[in-house]
Amino acid sequence: MKVILRNPRREVEVRGGRRVKDVLRDLEIIPETVLVIRGDTLITLDQLVADHDTIELRPVMSGGCEPSAPGTGHPRLKPASRTSPQ
């Protein structure tokens, strides 16, 4: 079966005839971090996927922005200080 991965977009072939959670385990992907898409809908981890299936594992994680500073709407926090020897 074909698995479409993102960031960067690529395709891998894996063995079908088993549950989605087993495919994710083989690919070392944490279920919480992806949507599993087959056709135009989502499928749950207990669903069986066949050799002729194509599924997309779409990552859900985003981020990068730092929190704002106390008491104001916009100035940033000072970066956390590194540890120093005691």
Binding site: R6, N7, I30, P31, E32, T33, V34, L35, I37, T41, L42, I43, T44, L45, D46, Q47, R58, P59, V60, M61, S62, G63, G64, C65, E66, P67, S68, A69, P70, G71, T72, G73, H74, P75, R76, L77, A80, S81
Partner: protein
């Protein structure tokens, strides 16, 4: 797996709620969580104009979609960061979303306001790109809202964002940051608008599922500068924890909000001034945004 509400085939399992839902019942669940957030924290009323900060990503567009569907009076604010093709594509998605629904979208270019786009700011400041980017976003969101008469800005921060921020703050015991970690930051100065996070009860996977099931065309590719960002690393750690202990992220964040946040509230008020240059709110004489803008203009 069956939907907890109707018994039909489920499309998504939410282990932290020990539940699975079909598409219509998941969409209902999602909208109800947003409504509960707005109600519980009195984020805004049906009479108020809400400025929704949108990036073209799943969270902010999902939020805007729910608010439009629920009849709120909203406008979008897209901040063009000038990050190569990523910004071109994400802006196009926001413009298409707004046009299809007949809602207004305000676009502000960071390059026009700071003097250079985020990639140049990164080079000039020699700091992580998220630093100058986040500063510019927070400043411009507030300023645009003030200038255009919006009492409140809504952002698409979700449960994972909030848990990761809390994790980072606790990891370094940044106690001054903890009182600011809230789904609703009230206006503490006439020139600071209220900031709210109506998605804070929903995980990143849930917002992605909502966006997908609602056929919202969002940008799946991550910001090229986000790779390796500390917040992403913290999210990965928390997701591994969630995998072995469903509900861990929820309990971490909600336990803090319900039982610990008040302990860190400051006794003394923060002294706020108006920036001598731009008039926006700052704790110093000249705000960080004006300093950044000066630094960029000197170097370019």
């Amino acid at each position: 797996m069956k939907c907890r509400k109707c018994g039909q085939g489920a499309v998504i399992e939410l282990r932290r709620h020990n539940a699975a839902f079909c598409t219509p019942d998941f969409l209902d669940f999602f909208r109800n969580q947003v409504r509960e957030a707005i109600r519980r924290h009195r984020m805004f009323t049906a009479d108020e104009q809400v400025l929704v900060a949108v990036s073209g990503g799943k969270d902010s567009l999902a939020l805007w979609d729910v608010l439009i569907e629920d009849g709120y009076r909203t406008s979008g604010l897209y901040l063009d960061l000038g990050i190569f093709d990523y910004s071109i594509e994400s802006r196009a998605k926001c413009e298409r979303f707004a046009a299809e629904r007949g809602v207004p979208l305000i676009v502000s270019r960071v390059a026009d306001e700071v003097g250079a786009p985020v990639p140049v700011i990164k080079q000039v400041t020699r700091r992580p790109p998220c630093s100058g980017c986040g500063l510019s976003k927070r400043y411009l969101m507030n300023r645009v809202a003030l200038e255009q008469g919006f009492p409140v800005v809504a952002t698409g921060h979700n449960l994972d964002d909030e848990a990761a921020t809390l994790f980072g703050s606790v990891l370094h015991w940044q106690t001054e940051a903890l009182p600011r970690q809230s789904p609703m930051l009230p206006s503490t100065h006439p020139k600071l608008v209220r900031r709210v996070k109506p998605l804070y009860r929903l995980s990143e996977r849930e917002t992605a599922a909502y966006a997908f099931l609602r056929r919202i065309d969002y940008i799946v590719e991550e910001c090229p500068f986000a790779k390796g960002a500390t917040s992403i690393q913290h999210k990965e750690i928390l997701s591994r924890l969630e995998e072995v202990s469903p509900g861990a992220k929820h309990n971490f964040l909600f336990g803090f909000l319900d039982r610990a946040r008040a302990v860190f509230e400051r006794v003394e008020a923060v002294d706020l001034h108006e920036c001598a240059r731009c008039g926006q709110v700052t704790t110093g004489t000249v705000c960080a945004f004006c300093k950044l803008s000066d630094q960029v203009k000197r170097a370019t």
